[in-house]
């Protein structure tokens, strides 16, 4: 687990709105300034790079996490499996490996499409999670809901990943207090029925990637090697 002291020292990659790299400020300080700029002007002039991962298991169900009250934003809401900032000197692929190991304590690898399909077919994925990059969105609008109920929309560069994993996870002491598996159709119904329980991010992403998620789920159900 990343300690609080390490988090306060966390340096991230930031860019201007035309994607020109600006530097590696401290995350905590950067967001203080960004929030203040948003409050003053209603918009921001800088953005971060993040990753978002949807992880499914061999039954084709999606792991969603509930954000614990340790989080400043979107607490108690169900969210995609993992998301985090790309740190100084990291590529998004490495960020996925780091976050999988830090937050859910499982080893992940990022594969190209061909190797990803082989991994799902040939390996029961008990010992590692196989992930693949879907795309990078250069102006993703991320909605932050703070503890005082105020909202802010910050643009981000975000790289989307999908993954498959059947092994154990550990989430105690992290930023999640609950993990649940959802069937995609059940999730789509839930998002309509109880939208207040889910992050805006999740709603936007599920709607945008429903077709690709469905394709991956049917591939896993049809060809995935079942764990014993």
């Amino acid at each position: 687990m990343t300690s609080e002291t390490e988090l306060l020292k966390e340096k991230i990659k930031i860019f201007d709105l035309t994607n020109t790299f600006l530097g590696n400020p401290n995350k905590f300080e950067f967001y203080k300034k960004l929030r203040s700029e948003y409050r003053r002007t209603g918009k921001v002039t800088k953005k971060v790079h993040t990753i978002r991962l949807f992880l499914i298991n061999g039954d084709g169900c999606i792991f969603l996490v509930r954000r614990s009250d340790l989080k400043k934003e979107n607490k108690w809401l169900f969210d995609k499996t993992l998301s985090t900032h790309v740190r100084k000197d990291e590529t998004p692929k490495y960020t996925v490996l780091r976050e999988s190991s830090e937050e859910l304590e499982f080893p992940a690898i990022v594969l190209d499409q061909e190797d990803f399909e082989i991994a799902v077919k040939e390996n029961d994925l008990l010992l590692f999670g196989a992930t693949k990059e879907i795309e990078t969105i250069e102006n993703f609008r991320a909605l932050y809901r703070y503890r005082d109920e105020s909202d802010a929309i910050f643009p981000q560069i975000t790289t989307i990943f999908f993954g498959v994993y059947n092994g154990p996870i550990r989430f105690e002491d992290h930023e999640t207090d609950l993990i649940e598996l959802f069937d995609l159709d059940e999730l789509l119904m839930e998002l309509k029925k109880n939208p207040e329980k889910y992050t805006e991010d999740l709603k936007v992403l599920v709607s945008k990637y429903e077709k690709q998620l469905r394709e991956l789920i049917s591939f896993v159900r049809k060809y995935g090697k079942k764990p014993q």
């Binding site: 298991n57 039954d59 169900c61 509930r66 304590e105 499982f106 059947n166 092994g167 154990p168 996870i169 550990r170 989430f171 105690e172 002491d173 207090d177 609950l178 993990i179 649940e180 598996l181 069937d183 059940e186």
Partner: protein
């Protein structure tokens, strides 16, 4: 392969062994005919907590026939033929969560926790043996029946990884007793009767490992 369980009379006399599914069907039928069940089987129920004293609850699979999607104790199950309660508790931990566990005497708990790395193995201890424990079964169509059993209650410490077995669980949570009690008060329909009863009976054992004397 059928899972054979031992059947006992109301006063604890061994009657026979039978296929678990068949016994359940017979118990259910008797309950809906007469309002009670005259036979018992053996059951182990386990509630795990972290060394910090937070409870690990399982969300029963949404595809289960009874109590689907309810928050429940960490694991539990019937004792199969020739199994004692301790073995059933250990087997259920292995089957449902893929975690190794061992049962120790309560008086050895403190020293066991000093010896055993609970990130690798769960340390269980038996809290109580209830001769007439009742599990309330709420079926998908909301029909309710009460299944009696002789049940051993276990608590345990565990800090390691958890593996989902979709047939059994569709979620896990790690929460304080206070958080769970608050939720039970606000949304009682999301919790099994088992966990509500169990929490009442084991409350005094829910504490961080460092507070065990």
């Amino acid at each position: 392969m059928p899972e054979m369980v031992e059947i006992y009379s109301e006063n604890g006399k061994f009657l026979c062994t039978k296929d678990n599914k068949q016994v359940h069907a017979e118990m259910r039928e008797e309950y809906f005919k007469t309002g009670k069940v005259s036979i018992r089987h053996k059951h182990s129920k386990v509630l795990l907590m972290t060394r910090g004293g937070k409870l690990i609850l399982q969300k029963r699979s949404k595809w289960k026939g009874d109590n689907p999607g309810f928050w429940d104790k960490t694991v539990g199950g019937h004792a199969f033929r020739h199994e004692n309660f301790d073995y059933t508790a250990v087997r259920e931990c292995a089957e449902e969560m893929r975690i190794p566990s061992t049962v120790v005497n309560k008086e050895h708990l403190k020293e066991s926790l000093e010896l055993i790395d609970t990130k690798i193995m769960a340390v269980l201890f038996r809290v109580e043996l209830r001769k007439n424990d009742i599990s309330v079964r709420i079926e998908k169509d909301s029909k309710v029946w009460r299944e009696p059993s002789t049940t051993a209650y276990y608590m345990g410490y565990y800090d390691g990884p958890i593996r989902f077995s979709l047939a059994e669980a569709s979620g896990f949570r790690i929460s304080t007793l206070h958080e769970i009690e608050k939720e039970i008060k606000n949304n009682p329909d999301e919790f099994t009767n088992d966990i509500i009863v169990l929490l009442e009976r084991v409350k005094k054992y829910i504490k961080p490992a460092r507070d065990i004397v």
